[in-house]
Each structure stands twice: as structure tokens, then as C-alpha cells.
């Protein structure tokens, strides 16, 4: 009987494990579908209603008793949703000659070849805008559809947003994320490596104190780092810099408001423990015989560290950097306090001197997910867009993490032969 209850509980543990794995797979699968779907060219449907009306548009949601349809947006984006009860529909079809026109500002117009021409359609919009592309989405075969999809992906990655983030691409957010993370890496690596060396090399009370401080503070919520960033960096140091160096521009703040520099500094503080743990582990993994060998050749301890241990721990340094980047790329909450914005007027990096503008506000992929999903005027368009941003973010973060995992495994393999 005891044996049986043991088996049963084992199954419970196994089932929990299976459930977690299944959820993870479902999560990633769902994200990739939901993230790519908005870029896949949708079909255009024609609905004939009971009252004789004929509507042309894209079906955006099908619920129990009704269908949500987006028809031509003549005036502005997000204005032309129609909810139609299923009982009112006489016929549904997807005519092959249906045209979908996408305008530069994200509005979509629908028509058919035998109706007004594409140009006439776009002219009929009360606010004319340049046409981005014209498609016959129902007539596309799989391969041409994929071609359109790839073009959409390219546009998504390579252009700026329009209509307050509801259309266009995410290039500025991508650039903002990358520049932010690079700046953070430049700050965090020397600090993290120095601390790791300290922990590796020294003995005594200081080491124990530093180690427990880092272990404990690694558990501090990221939003608290954001509070520190806002209160100390922005309102403290930043306001001080403004008073001393940019007094002529006051009361318009330069460094006294959230910006790239303070965000990077906040994230650097947030990710220091990640780097320290990883580098210290890497240093500890190097067999003692190598260190002895170097010392026996007449190297000082510091020469041993600099010429042998640090180069040998390069994969660990890289692992630490990658993990820090992955953590920073996913951290959104602290950024909301230190300078991330929905739409930045200028990129933090451009062709005018000094090329990198650390005081500028910036856009961020993670914040775009939050903002487009929750704060946009057109949630039916916003949510799929947020999913596209989320899929991009997750792809980047997971790629970084996977490379860190692979690197770490390689490092372990490499020194296994030297151990014992």
C-alpha cells in the first residue's frame, strides 16, 4: 500500500513536470503564431446582409453570435469596425477580385475590380494619403502570399511607426532597445568583472559581505531599481548636472528628465549580479593546476589573472554578458520611470554630433508591447501588433539565452579534461 501511494505521488510529480513543459511549448507556439499572424496578408470577405447592404472588409473576430468586420477606413484609422449579428447575414464570400489597399498612415480600404479603381478608392478617402501597397489578397497563391508576408516582415522591422504606433514598423523601438542594451553592457561589464575578480581573488570578511550583498540584492524587484533611477539619477544627479552645466536651458531639463543614460545606468545596476555570478563561476571552474603552473613560471598573481585566467574564462564573460543583455532586454518596468516613451521625437543615435545622445528619451520594444496592447485607441489592431512586438522580443531574448546556455556547456566540456 505504501509502495502504491509512492507510485501515485511520483505520477503526480511527473504530471506536474509534463504540464509545465506542455505549457512552455504551448506558450512559445502560441506566441509565434500570434506574433506572425498580423503580418500574414488577410483575406477580404464580402457579407450580404438581410437589409440588402453589402459590406466588404476583413473579418477580425468571430464570436458566438456575431462577426466583427473592419471595412474601409475613410477618415481615420480604427473608425470602421462593424459588429454584425450572424442572423443578419444572408451570404458570405471571398471574391477573388477584392482589393485591399494599405495607405501610408495604416488605414485600409477595400474594393473590387469592377467597382471604382484603386486610385479612385484612395482618392475617395476624405484624407488622402499615399498608397503603401495594393493587393488582391484573395487571389494570392501560397507562395505569393508568403512573398507579401516577407515584405511585411521587412517593413515591420525596417520602418518607423505611424498613426501612434498602430501602423508601420518598429525600427525606432528596435534601435532604442539595442542602443540601450549596448550602453548598459559597456557599463556593467567592467563593474561586474571587477567584482567577480574581487570575489575570486580575495579572502576574508569583505568577500563574504560583498557576496551576500550581491546575492540578496539580486532579489530586489526591478521596479525598485527604477525608483532609484528616477529619484537618484534623474532627480538627483541629473538635476544637479542641469544646474551646473545646462543652466541656460532651464527650466527645460536636459539630464534632469528620464533619458538613455539613466536608463542604461539603472539596467546596469539591475544586471550586475548576473554578470558577477557568471564570471565568478567561470573563474572558479578553471582548474587550480593552471594557476599553479602560471605562478610556478614566475608570474605574479595579477599577471596570472590577466594573462591566463581571464582569457581562459572568456566564454564565462561572454555568458555573463549575454545573460545580462537578455535580462535587460526584457526589463520594462524600471524603464517606465527613467525615460522610455511611446513615441520619441528623435532617435538616441544619429548622424549629428556627438552621434550618441545620452540625454534623449527613447523607444523600447518591451514598452511598445505594453503600450500598444493597453493604451492604444484601436485595440483590435493594437493587440495583434503587440503580439508581433512580443514575438520579436521573445525571439531576441531566447536566442541570446540559448547561445549563453550553449557557451556555458562548451566551457564545462573544455575544462572537464583538465580536472582531476
Amino acid at each position: 500500500m505504501k509502495r502504491r501511494s509512492g507510485d501515485a505521488t511520483t505520477w503526480l510529480l511527473g504530471g506536474a513536470t509534463g504540464l509545465c513543459l506542455a505549457t512552455l511549448v504551448a506558450l512559445l507556439g502560441f506566441l509565434s503564431v500570434a506574433g506572425l499572424e498580423p503580418l500574414w496578408p488577410a483575406r477580404v470577405s464580402e457579407l450580404q446582409l438581410r437589409d440588402g447592404q453589402v459590406l466588404l472588409g476583413e473579418i477580425v473576430a468571430v464570436e458566438d453570435g456575431s462577426i466583427a468586420l473592419r471595412t474601409s477606413e475613410i477618415d481615420r484609422i480604427g473608425e470602421a469596425y462593424r459588429r454584425i449579428s450572424k442572423t443578419d447575414i444572408v451570404a458570405r464570400s471571398q471574391p477573388t477580385d477584392a482589393i485591399a489597399i494599405t495607405l501610408i498612415d495604416g488605414r485600409q480600404l477595400f474594393g473590387r475590380d469592377r467597382g471604382p479603381s484603386a486610385d479612385a478608392l484612395s482618392d475617395s478617402a476624405s484624407k488622402p494619403a499615399a498608397v503603401l501597397d495594393t493587393l488582391h489578397p484573395n487571389a494570392l497563391g501560397f507562395f505569393s502570399r508568403s512573398g507579401v508576408f516577407l515584405r511585411n516582415v521587412g517593413r515591420f522591422l525596417g520602418t518607423s511607426p505611424s498613426s501612434s504606433n498602430l501602423a508601420g514598423g518598429v525600427l525606432p523601438a528596435l534601435i532604442g532597445t539595442v542602443v540601450l542594451v549596448l550602453l548598459m553592457s559597456i557599463m556593467v561589464m567592467p563593474l561586474g568583472v571587477a567584482t567577480a575578480i574581487y570575489l575570486h581573488q580575495r579572502r576574508g570578511v569583505g568577500v563574504r559581505f560583498v557576496r551576500s550583498a550581491i546575492n540578496t540584492l539580486a532579489g530586489v524587484p526591478s521596479i525598485v531599481y527604477g525608483v532609484l533611477g528616477l529619484g537618484l539619477f534623474v532627480h538627483g544627479i541629473g538635476a544637479g548636472i542641469d544646474r551646473w552645466f545646462y543652466a541656460d536651458r532651464l527650466p527645460v531639463p536636459t539630464f534632469g528628465s528620464g533619458g538613455l543614460l539613466w536608463a542604461a545606468l539603472t539596467l546596469a545596476l539591475l544586471t550586475v549580479p548576473v554578470v558577477v555570478v557568471s564570471v565568478e563561476e567561470g573563474l572558479a571552474r578553471i582548474p587550480a593546476s593552471l594557476r599553479d603552473g602560471s605562478l610556478a613560471l614566475g608570474a605574479t598573481r595579477d599577471e596570472t589573472l590577466w594573462r591566463l585566467l581571464l582569457p581562459a574564462a572568456r566564454p564565462a564573460l561572454l555568458t555573463g554578458l549575454i545573460l545580462a543583455i537578455a535580462r535587460a532586454a526584457g526589463a520594462v518596468a524600471p524603464l517606465m520611470l527613467v525615460g522610455v516613451v511611446k513615441l520619441a521625437p528623435a532617435l538616441p543615435i544619429d548622424g549629428s554630433f556627438p552621434y550618441l545622445h545620452p540625454s534623449r528619451q527613447f523607444m523600447h520594444l518591451g514598452f511598445a508591447v505594453y503600450d500598444t496592447a493597453l493604451a492604444s485607441s484601436d485595440t483590435i489592431r493594437g493587440v495583434p501588433r503587440a503580439y508581433a512586438c512580443a514575438a520579436l522580443l521573445v525571439a531576441v531574448v531566447i536566442a541570446l539565452n540559448l547561445s549563453a546556455i550553449l557557451l556555458r556547456n562548451r566551457l564545462r566540456e573544455r575544462y572537464r579534461s583538465l580536472e582531476n
Binding site: 511520483t10 511527473g14 506558450l27 524587484p221 605574479t300 537578455a326 532586454a329 520594462v332 493587440v383
Partner: protein, 362 residues
């Protein structure tokens, strides 16, 4: 008695110091200076957090101006969200850790660990998005389904284990074999509860603590798992081997050797998981509805300290009462999480020392 010094070549006479030998030492001290400076900077930055928060609250006399009632609502919201999340993260995390450390086939273990690291790496803003955009509309009409699954899944697993457990010698790949069963149970529960005559529980808000708990629980699960798994895996193999040699089953070895030895590690994992749930921001911000209401109902909305900070901080004017109230909230959050993680750290350090000593003895 005086001894002549041994002699050989003059190369080693004390007057002869090879050129550069002292310069190399000096260069070394420069490196040491850099290391010290870097460490001190990191330490200063990290220690600045609590000191700075306290300093911002000064003067103490004006503390009564602060919005204490709002603070209580925020704190209540934080605790309610964390309680719901812990309900998901801790049982699942510990179960997966126990399975992975003790029962799992090594090849499966080599996959599970990175898989959960990947789950840990998924930005919480993404989990928040999924919660608010996809799960919330579904959960709004399926609270009963979820409740029935919470009862049904363990019941079915336990019964199946009772019935067929003895036939399967090696539980190493159990999670994959059980997948069809899990999927079947979920499918049955969903179909039954989707029928019109099924009991329906309608939450007062689609964005509520239960929704937050579901997403937040999955976000903190990897942390609970990795801490607990590390602790269990640290127990020397020799101990469990000894239990097997005495005729214990795998399950008995777990309960009689592993859990007593590494139990404090599981406690530490739970504490770290709670700490993580308390401080997480994006999921709560997106899925909680941000309505500062009190009470213990998991089906109503809430607003947590972290979400309050993220929303209120950028708008509050420096030095205003609202600004200082938020600093107080941040300080409370910091103290809560810090004490939990410091406690967990102490427990883990003790466990590590004990198990290391045990490994040497073995």
C-alpha cells in the same frame, strides 16, 4: 652553529634583482586598484537603494501627510496577487524540481533545465500581454473549468498512478508519457464546462487576482524550480545510493533521505518565489485592472505597489506628498522582498555548508 651559505652561480645573489621585477609588482597593484574601485562602485550602487529610499522619506515629522490608506490598499493588492501566484508557482515548481532532481532520466533532465531557463527568460511584459489579451477573455467565462481542473488533474494523476504505477519500473520519462492523459483531461474539462447547463462562476472583473496569479505563477515558477532543484541535486549521490542499498524505493529515498537533507532548500525556494511574486511589475500592471480595491476575493481587481510605482512615479512632482508616499511604498516593497531573499540566502548558505561537509565526510 654557523653554516656557510650554499653557493652556486652569482645569478641569485640578493643584489641582483632582475630588471622589471619590481615594476611588474607595481603594475599588479594598479590592477588591484581597478578591481577594488569597481567592487566598491557596485557595492555603493547596490547599497544606495535602501539608504536612498529612507533618505527620501525625510523629514520624519511629515510622515503623517502621506497617503496611508492608499498605501494599505496597494499593499493589500500586492499580497493578494502574490498569494494567488504562489498558489501556482510553489506547488508546481517544487513538484517539477523533485521530479527532475530525483526521478528524471538524465537525458530528459538535460532538456528540462534549459527549458525552464528559457521560460525564466521570457520577458514578463509578454506574459502580461498573453494574460490580458488572450487568457482574460477566456477566463472570464471559464473560472469553473479552471477550478475543476485544479481538482481533476491531481485526482486523475493519483488514480492513474495507483492503478498503473507499479507496472512502470522506471519513471524517468514519465512526463512525456503522461502528456496524452493531461491533454485528454483538459479537453474533457473544457468541453463539459462549456455546456450551457454547466455551473458558471462569473468574476466581477475580467482582470482579477486569479488571472494575475496564473500568469505571475508561471513567471516565478522557474525561480522556485531552479533554487529547489539545486538544493536537491547538491545532496551527495552516496546518500541516496545508501537508501537504495537498504531496499528503499525511489519515492522512499526521496522522502527519507533527500527531503530531510535538502528540505531547507525547498523552503528557501518558496521564500524566493514569494519575494519574486511580490515585486513583479509588468504582469500585475497589465492583468490586474489596476483598481485599488480591498478584500480577499481572488475574482476582483487589484492594484499592487509595483504597478502603483510604475504608473504614479513618472507623474508625481518631486517632493510632493504623493511622490513621498510612493517612496514609502517602494521602501515597504524593498523591505518585504529584501528580508525574504536575505532569509533565503542564509538558509541556502547553511544548507550548502552542511551538504559540503557531508560530501567530504562521505
Amino acid at each position: 652553529m654557523p653554516v656557510d651559505p650554499p653557493t652556486c652561480d652569482p645569478f641569485l645573489s640578493p643584489d641582483f634583482i632582475r630588471s622589471g621585477a619590481r615594476a611588474r609588482l607595481r603594475r599588479g597593484s594598479l590592477l588591484a586598484l581597478l578591481v577594488n574601485t569597481g567592487t566598491m562602485l557596485v557595492l555603493a550602487g547596490l547599497m544606495a537603494i535602501p539608504l536612498f529610499l529612507v533618505a527620501r522619506l525625510l523629514p520624519w515629522a511629515a510622515l503623517s501627510d502621506l497617503d496611508w490608506q492608499g498605501l494599505c490598499l496597494l499593499l493589500g493588492g500586492t499580497l493578494r496577487a502574490a498569494a494567488c501566484a504562489v498558489f501556482v508557482a510553489v506547488p508546481l515548481g517544487l513538484a517539477v524540481a523533485m521530479f527532475t532532481a530525483h526521478f528524471c532520466a538524465p537525458r530528459l533532465r538535460a532538456w528540462i533545465k534549459p527549458a525552464l531557463e528559457i521560460l525564466d527568460a521570457v520577458p514578463t511584459v509578454v506574459l502580461g500581454l498573453i494574460a490580458v489579451a488572450t487568457i482574460a477573455p477566456w477566463l472570464k467565462i471559464h473560472v469553473a473549468t479552471v477550478l475543476s481542473l485544479i481538482v481533476l488533474l491531481p485526482a486523475v494523476l493519483l488514480t492513474a498512478g495507483m492503478a498503473f504505477g507499479a507496472r512502470i519500473r522506471n519513471a524517468g520519462w514519465l512526463p512525456l508519457w503522461l502528456l496524452p492523459l493531461l491533454i485528454a483531461v483538459v479537453a474533457v474539462a473544457v468541453t463539459i464546462c462549456a455546456r450551457h447547463d454547466a455551473v458558471a462562476i462569473v468574476p466581477s472583473s475580467p482582470w482579477n487576482a486569479a488571472l494575475v496569479g496564473l500568469a505571475l505563477g508561471f513567471a516565478s515558477l522557474p525561480l522556485v524550480f531552479s533554487v529547489a532543484e539545486d538544493a536537491l541535486f547538491l545532496v551527495p549521490r552516496a546518500h541516496t545510493q545508501a537508501a537504495f542499498a537498504l531496499g528503499a524505493t525511489r519515492w522512499q529515498a526521496l522522502t527519507s533521505v533527500l527531503l530531510p537533507a535538502a528540505g531547507s532548500g525547498l523552503v528557501a525556494a518558496t521564500m524566493l518565489g514569494v519575494s519574486r511574486c511580490l515585486g513583479e511589475t509588468m504582469i500585475v500592471l497589465m492583468a490586474s485592472g489596476n483598481t485599488p480595491v480591498g478584500g480577499f476575493d481572488p475574482l476582483i481587481g487589484l492594484r499592487s505597489i509595483s504597478a502603483g510605482l510604475a504608473l504614479g512615479m513618472p507623474e508625481a512632482a518631486p517632493a510632493s506628498s504623493a511622490y513621498r508616499s510612493l517612496f514609502l511604498a517602494a521602501l515597504i516593497l524593498l523591505l518585504l522582498t529584501l528580508s525574504l531573499s536575505a532569509l533565503a540566502e542564509i538558509v541556502r548558505e547553511r544548507l550548502r555548508r552542511r551538504l559540503r561537509a557531508g560530501a567530504h565526510a562521505a
